[in-house]
Symmetry: C2
Subunit: 167 residues, 2 copies
DNA sequence: CGGATATTGTTTACGTGTGAACAATATCGA
DNA sequence: TCGATATTGTTCACACGTAAACAATATCCG
């Protein structure tokens, strides 16, 4: 077995084969590149993508319930608990228990949280503007449109959480 | 129905704000959906995306060096070590140290590994064919094309690891 | 040659995210 | 009303992936 047979692929160029057309594989690579770009552009501000997301969505939805937020961001409630506690410890967000339902928790930006997002927003804007890599602006716009459709943002009817339609 | 009132986004519909146009955020959601579909379609075969990827790429590149593989799949060598040792323990792949460079390791599919990939390939093909969610086939093809460009597969010249061009 | 430097895979410590079990609270139905 | 059931957030154990330090080997250059 150790013999290369049809001569092993010892060169530096690897053949992806059918994987190179796999949507899942391409999405994984794309996300890795996207995150790397984020850290390169925002690294100096010491902010993680998850924190950025939470701040932005809380700025738009003050008082949103923790579970709703987790569902919208597609992360599990267990993990949301950790993030929220961490950011509360950092003084960025506040948690309140509403009168109507003592199980739940509502989330709000603190003054420091609002200051934080105001501080990072410009850099995030610049990052987003140039985060299209080798794509033209038109291609980036089309990519965003297709991704929105793929994740179910712009699908016409219900399709709920798991449309799964294969058309 | 507590009625959200003027403040407090207590309803179940959350406003994503500018995040809804963020390429990074959309890519994250898309990858989550893609992986979920993978597990739904392939779950019965008890195979993870990483294992699938390794088997497929080793089928195309017998004898590839471990580090080359890690670089191509954009995972760190440390993690590659773990995966490879695990799959070797499962009898799916074999590791050989070449004469020319005793530091490196070459990877090969075992007979069991080839059997394994032959067993899962049909399901993977079916999965890929229908994994386009609400997208039409034409849209899915365009999405793949744009992702390939974004991750640098089809870029003409160098652009290396970090083209960063903003065009 | 032979010492400085680089590369390769491994180990260890750690961060991020999930699944399952759980306690507290809310809601539904006889 | 009150017992059964569902929901909400939390905790714990664990998978996945990374960063940094490391040992072994290879390469470069005086």
């Amino acid at each position: 077995m150790p013999d290369a047979g049809p001569d092993g692929a010892r060169d530096n160029n690897l053949d992806y084969g059918p994987l190179g057309q796999s949507l899942g594989f391409l999405l994984r690579l794309a996300q890795l590149r996207s995150f790397a770009t984020f850290y390169k552009d925002m690294g100096a501000l010491d902010i993680r993508p998850g924190e950025m997301t939470l701040l932005m969505v809380l700025a738009e939805n003050p008082g949103v319930r923790q579970g709703i937020l987790a569902k919208a961001l597609r992360i599990k409630r267990a993990h949301m608990t950790k993030m929220v506690h961490g950011m509360e410890a950092d003084g960025l967000i506040a948690r309140t228990v509403p009168e109507g339902d003592k199980r739940s928790v509502e989330l709000w930006l603190t003054e420091a949280g609002r200051a934080r997002i105001d501080a990072v927003r410009p850099d995030f804007g610049r990052h987003e503007a140039k985060a299209t890599g080798p794509l033209t602006q038109a291609e980036a716009a089309e990519l965003r449109r297709l991704l929105r459709r793929y994740v179910g943002f712009d699908v016409p009817a219900d399709a709920g959480c798991d449309g799964g339609g294969m058309r």
